[in-house]
């Protein structure tokens, strides 16, 4: 409650400045001191909830004020650009995901930040797996059945994803390559309308993240396979077990810091963040969101970024997808 009040007081002050003074005074100097986690998405979303869970624990372990600052807009790019100009002294961290650090650099000809030059990795927080699902009313019961059906009905081989240019979009293309059928991609505006269309069998199959589909499995939506390294649900096989060795699709959330942040500071923050997410109550909440806690070192997170770019790069290039 206190943070809400202080946020409101802050907003009133800033708004008053904007209204009564000139607009050019709006971007005054940032005050050093409190640590802020910049979330480039609106309050209340998945990243925001996660960041607030972590901020709450960091307060105690670092004995500092830790605030979450929402800078939403342009799919996270506004907040990311904002974060790169923040002081590199450990007082600012940025919440990121593959869309911002893996896909965007490949699909934008002009991007206002460089993930490698402007930022240093701090830690990967959690991972979430992709799933391939069909409507509950569908006659298709497993991945093999789906592949056969697509061969027989190539004109109907359409799949939905939560957004154009999202990792699930490219994950669908990965499956398409394996199946040897040209699957047509139908993007939706988010998971909710996609799930609605899938339940109503408006689309024969969909690719999305695990937790948006599992709540409807197996009655209204049938998840055919999950795309992680091991089973996420006892009754649902992974693509790997089914023999599709290279079909793997995992998204994640992570924290980065502005690039000039000194190494000792990064290490200290990394320890505090990893400690926070491994606390039982935090871990439990993250698992409730359908994802798995990782909490890597800064180096490991750097390697994950490199690995993901090598893995998705060829698929994204082959798709010809361009965002601007």
């Amino acid at each position: 409650m206190r943070s809400i009040i202080s946020k409101w007081v802050g907003m009133v002050v800033i708004a008053a400045v904007v209204v009564f003074l000139s607009v050019s005074l709006g971007s005054a100097q940032e005050i050093k001191g409190p640590i802020k986690i910049i979330v480039p998405y609106p309050a209340g979303g998945g990243s925001d909830v996660l960041a607030r869970l972590i901020a709450d624990k960091l307060k105690d372990s670092l004995s500092q004020t830790v605030i979450v600052e929402n800078k939403p807009g342009a799919g996270g790019r506004i907040g990311t650009e904002y974060a790169k100009g923040q002081p590199a002294d450990g007082s600012s961290m940025l919440f990121v995901n593959p869309a911002l650090f893996v896909v965007s650099p490949m699909v934008y000809s002009k991007l206002s930040y460089d993930p490698d030059k402007d930022f240093n990795p701090l830690s990967q927080i959690n991972t979430y797996e992709f799933v391939l699902s069909v409507p509950g009313s569908s006659s298709i019961k497993d991945v093999k059945g789906l592949m056969e059906w697509m061969k027989k009905n190539p004109k109907q081989a359409n799949y939905g994803s939560p957004a154009a240019g999202s990792l699930p979009h490219f994950f669908g293309l990965m499956i398409s390559k394996y199946a040897g059928v040209e699957m047509v991609h139908a993007p939706y505006s988010g998971s909710a309308p996609l799930v609605t269309a899938l339940i109503g069998a408006q689309i024969p199959m969909a690719v999305d993240v695990f937790d948006t589909h599992i709540q409807h499995h197996p009655d209204k939506i049938r998840i055919l396979a999950t795309a992680g390294a091991s089973r996420k649900h006892p009754d649902i096989p992974t693509f790997k077990e089914l023999g599709y060795k290279d079909i793997e699709g995992v998204g994640w959330n992570g924290i980065v810091v502005p690039s000039k942040t000194p190494k000792p500071v990064i290490d200290k923050l990394n320890q505090a963040v990893v400690k926070a997410i491994k606390m039982p109550d935090v871990t439990q909440k993250i698992q409730q969101m359908g994802s798995d806690v990782t909490g890597t070192t800064a180096e490991e997170f750097g390697n994950i970024l490199k690995h993901d770019r090598e893995k998705w790069g060829p698929i994204i290039k082959a798709s010809g997808f361009k965002a601007d």
């Binding site: 342009a74 506004i78 650009e81 309308p193 609605t196 109503g200 709540q215 601007d324």
Partner: protein, 504 residues
């Protein structure tokens, strides 16, 4: 029986102390802004939207809904007492309500407005509860073709129902469609008309657009006219109606409720249309049409019931199909999305306590309004004398705070100012901004579904005509076009709106 258990769940949610409090706050604010001419529920909800972030979603929605139907109550008070419609939907109430007040029957007019609204509110709550589940089942049958055709129907509806010139309404819809194009295209993921400005990558914000076009422009407009408000001097006496009045008003309330409920469900409809149509209907079936406009109680009872019924039933398409049928509902949809709830058929199953809680809260809120309205009339009348020079700067300040806090970005404040000027220009040109807003909201959805439909059919446009539901919507849209094109009907429509315009 399921209905009973659902309503029980709703009651459980709605009468928790927190929700009761915010429901009360909502209807109180609603009545307040309803009484004050110039500030309507659209601006108020836009301003208060960010303030609800800290609340649980169900509480936030209960409060916002309360503002909406509360405003319908408050609007009638100003219409009857001052002959200035507090709300656009209360325009019709002025005709007979003020006449009744001049004849010393203000008390009776206020009473029938409140009781009629309460009856309509009760009926609409029940209707909402009964219709919601079957309609949301139907919603799963809605594919891209059906959605596209429904949007076409809705957009044409917004033209037909707009007051004033048809050409201007068409122009405003098209302008709305164009503004809706700005931002990232859902189908291709590519940016359009954003000119490299990252703030435009998500499209023009709905809050800056709505607040600028309605709120800021209204304030500018008010500044150029002199304050001229004459509060009724004579005493408001006798809150009770005579037997004869009750006998005349009761069937009118029922007819108004039915008309309003029906028109509320239609896309593009809503409260203004409901009150207007019900008044025309009442006049048409009356044996003594000459007495309308001279203080006939039925002329108050029917439209007041209709606008309240419609303000509740228009939640049906939003909560079941995810389609907002008017500007305020579009705002409510925005509020739901901000709280992480995608409006659509899954709301009932995934958030049952939210869904039923909001529905039942409407009934609870209506009860509060009756209790609130009758004894507080004296205070409302006093409020009408607060000078605008104090009121407007305060509103402007709250607008700025509200807009900034949506994205924590000053860009949006500049955008709002720009749309405020545009809105003022529209007012000078006598162009109604409501069709623009509907075009802005429905346009991108229409494009998205058209292209998705074409993708899924692999480029075969026949899906829009071969699926029966889709075909039905297209035929209805066509019928509406024909109706508006027929010269005789067009003339009548223009006469009717002119009559309405003269009174306001």
């Amino acid at each position: 029986m399921e209905l009973v258990s659902n309503l029980a769940l709703g009651f459980q949610t709605a009468i928790s102390p927190l929700n009761l409090f915010y429901c009360f706050l909502g209807v109180l604010i609603g009545t307040l802004i309803g009484v004050l001419p110039g500030i309507g529920p659209v601006q108020t909800i836009a301003i208060l939207l960010p303030a609800t972030f800290a609340l649980p979603p169900v509480t936030a929605l209960i409060m916002l809904a309360g503002i909406y139907y509360g405003a319908q109550y408050g609007g009638s008070t100003t219409s009857i007492l001052v002959n200035v419609p507090g709300e656009a939907s209360s325009v019709v109430t002025c005709m007979d309500g003020y006449q009744m007040a001049l004849q010393g029957r203000a008390g009776a007019a206020l009473t029938i407005a409140a009781l009629g609204s309460f009856f309509a509110g009760c009926f609409a709550t029940l209707l909402l509860a009964v219709l919601a589940i079957p309609l949301s089942e139907l919603a799963f049958k809605f594919g891209p073709a059906e959605y596209f055709s429904l949007m076409v129907f809705g957009l044409i509806g917004s033209i037909v129902f707009a007051s004033g010139s048809v050409i201007k309404a068409v122009g405003m819809v098209v302008l709305g469609l164009i503004l809706g194009m700005v931002g990232t295209d859902i189908t291709s993921g590519t940016q359009r008309f954003s000119f490299g400005i990252p703030e435009l990558a998500d499209g023009l914000g709905f809050v800056p657009l709505a607040m600028g076009l309605f709120g800021i422009s209204e304030i500018i407009k008010s500044l150029e006219r002199r304050e001229k408000r004459e509060v009724l001097k004579s005493k408001i006496m006798g809150f009770w109606m005579s037997k004869k009045e009750i006998k005349a008003a009761a069937p009118a309330v029922v007819r108004g409720t039915l008309t309003g409920s029906l028109l509320g469900i239609l896309p593009g409809g809503g409260v203004i249309l409901a009150s207007f149509i019900s008044y025309m209907l009442e006049k048409k079936i009356s044996r003594d049409p000459q007495s309308f406009g001279k203080g006939n109680i039925r002329g108050v009872a029917s439209p007041e019931s209709a606008n309240n019924a419609a303000s509740q039933t228009c939640f049906v398409p939003l909560l079941t199909l995810g389609i907002p049928s008017n500007v305020i509902l579009a705002m409510m949809a925005g509020a739901m999305i901000i709280h992480g709830i995608q409006p659509g058929p899954r709301v009932i199953s995934s958030n049952p306590s939210l869904f039923w809680g909001v529905i039942v809260s409407m009934w609870v809120g209506n009860l509060m309004l009756v209790i609130l309205n009758l004894p507080l009339i004296g205070i409302w009348v006093k409020l009408l004398s607060v000078p605008y020079r104090l009121l407007y700067p305060a509103i402007l300040l709250f607008c700025c705070i509200g807009i900034y806090s949506v994205n924590n970005n000053t860009f949006d404040i500049g955008l709002t100012a720009l749309f405020g000027l545009l809105g003022y220009t529209f007012a000078k040109l006598e162009c109604e901004p409501a069709p623009l807003i509907l075009g802005f909201v429905l346009g991108p959805m229409m494009e998205e579904n058209l292209r998705r439909g074409m993708l899924l059919s692999r480029g075969d446009p026949s899906i829009f005509f071969t699926r029966p539901l889709s075909l039905a919507f297209l035929l209805m849209a066509l019928a509406m076009l024909i109706v508006i094109a027929l010269p005789a009907i067009r003339r009548k429509r223009e006469d009717a709106f002119r009559e309405e315009g003269e009174k306001s």
